[in-house]
């Protein structure tokens, strides 16, 4: 079976792209939500919460994502919890992304002047209002370039989902390449699709960075 690279093959790649985008969104949503909790715990008053968050970040930043996906998918399978591949991948990416995003946002929260918290406290604002109305809006703004930068890494990182059987963009490219024997053409197209997906984000991130640099002056 030796096909040429035509529309059906391109359609197959786009099918893979669909998963790449979906996985990225899942990972970003899950990682963002859990990452926010990690950032809050990491900056909490309670030393216990802080230590837990430090441990969490160390573990999930310090081990390969590939291994984390293995552990969630096959490891949980071994103890009798059989998750569908997409759920395992979503959990794996959430764990990993939450550690990175949590640490990025922790840094931004700590970069704010101490006086912001003190002024809010002196006005009687509680933790919730302080975080929601004062600290997080400023911290997330500071962290925006790094956050977008991480999102780009994440999109490319979803190719690792192939190890648990996912046919996302990179894996789809591999399959098409094997059937068409046109690896250069196929991976050229795959690369171009990744580029179209990530480049606008990179541009956006660079623009944000420039804007903040200008605002700080």
């Amino acid at each position: 079976m030796n096909q040429t690279f035509g529309l059906p093959e391109f359609g197959f790649l786009l099918g893979g792209l669909k998963w790449t985008v979906l996985l990225s969104l899942l990972a970003f949503a899950g990682g963002g939500a859990v990452g926010m909790l990690v950032a809050l715990a990491r900056t909490a008053e309670s030393a216990l919460l802080r230590r837990l968050a430090i441990g969490y970040i160390a573990v999930f930043q310090g081990t390969p994502l590939l291994m984390q996906l293995f552990v969630v998918y096959y490891g949980l399978g071994l103890v009798g919890i059989q998750l569908p591949a997409w759920a395992a991948v979503a959990i794996g990416f959430t764990l990993n992304a939450s550690a990175f995003l949590g640490d990025i946002w922790r840094g931004a929260i700590q970069a704010l002047p101490r006086g912001q918290t003190e002024a809010a406290q002196a006005l009687g604002l509680h933790y919730r209002a302080r975080m929601r109305d004062i600290i997080l809006p400023q911290a997330l703004r500071i962290a925006q370039p790094a956050t977008v930068g991480y999102l780009v890494q994440l999109i490319k990182g979803t190719s690792l989902a192939a190890i648990v059987g996912f046919i996302e963009l990179a894996r789809a490219g591999q399959i098409v390449s094997n059937t068409t024997f046109e690896p250069i053409l196929v991976f050229g197209v795959v690369g171009a699709i990744y580029f179209v997906l990530c480049w606008p984000l990179s541009l956006y991130s660079a623009r944000l960075e420039a804007r903040f640099a200008a605002a700080m002056r």
Partner: protein, 253 residues
């Protein structure tokens, strides 16, 4: 200047307060009673504990011994007490500490809405009244970074006033300002004093102290060394440390 009657009820009472940072004692047996409507100016060399003392009053700092009572509420670790005290005592910082991502008006309405549960329309009406009083109403829709230092500090005063506090704490409110902006902030504070606000001001603006203070207090090494009405304090300080300090301050100004 209006002076409170000498039998006015105590609003803030600080009783034998000690505070340590590790092994270093910052506050040593501080005792001070501030009556309703009284204006206190607190001065002293850098590191003497002035900021620490007034920050203990609204629990931005904790203290280890003694007691602070604000309008009948003990400032301790009770969250309820801390809330009560913070909503009744306003604070103005040396570095303004406005919220840079909020407009001037939003800076002033946030706490009344979140802490007192005031609705937006009422909070904005109150904010406009106080912004007008510090003569900055026309800047209400700008962001803090668009204002000069003096304007920002006046906004910070208005922001605190919007909580309708019973007392105001000032921590060197003019020391971060360019000289030409000091007066506009001091004038605002003089106006506040004339309206009968209870105030504790950490400042080295001795003209201000002469004009509004009921008592000037000199602090050194975590102790209240000397206190007297300004006319006595400046003319006849009894302690050598006070005289040395005044000599330095007057030489600088």
């Amino acid at each position: 200047m209006s002076h409170p009657p000498s039998d006015a009820a105590p609003l803030i009472s600080i009783e034998a307060v000690d505070k340590w940072y590790g092994a270093f004692q910052v506050l040593r047996g501080i005792t001070l009673t501030v009556r309703k409507g009284e204006k206190i100016v607190l001065c002293g060399p850098s590191g003497s504990g002035k900021s620490t003392l007034i920050r203990c009053i609204n629990h931005l700092e904790t203290y280890q011994a003694g007691r602070i009572v604000v309008d009948g509420v003990v400032v301790n670790d009770s969250v309820k007490n801390i809330d009560t005290v913070r909503s009744e005592v306003g604070m103005v910082f040396q570095s303004f500490n406005l919220f840079p991502h909020l407009t001037i008006l939003q800076n002033c309405t946030l706490a009344p809405m979140r802490v007192r549960g005031v609705n937006k329309a009422t909070a904005e009406a109150t904010a406009r009244r106080y912004l007008d009083r510090v003569r900055i109403l026309d800047q209400a829709d700008k962001y803090p970074a668009q204002l000069s230092g003096g304007q920002q500090q006046r906004v910070a005063i208005a922001r605190a006033l919007c909580m309708e506090p019973k007392a105001m704490l000032f921590d060197e409110p003019t020391s971060a300002l360019d000289p030409e902006m000091v007066k506009e902030v001091l004038d605002t504070m003089v106006g506040l004093a004339a309206d009968g606000m209870t105030m504790i001001c950490v400042t080295h603006e001795m003209g201000f102290a002469r004009q509004v203070a009921d008592r000037v207090i000199f602090m050194a090494n975590g102790e209240l060394v000397e206190q007297a009405p300004p006319e006595v304090f400046f003319r006849n300080p009894t302690q050598q440390r006070t005289r040395d300090f005044l000599g330095q301050i007057l030489a600088q100004h």
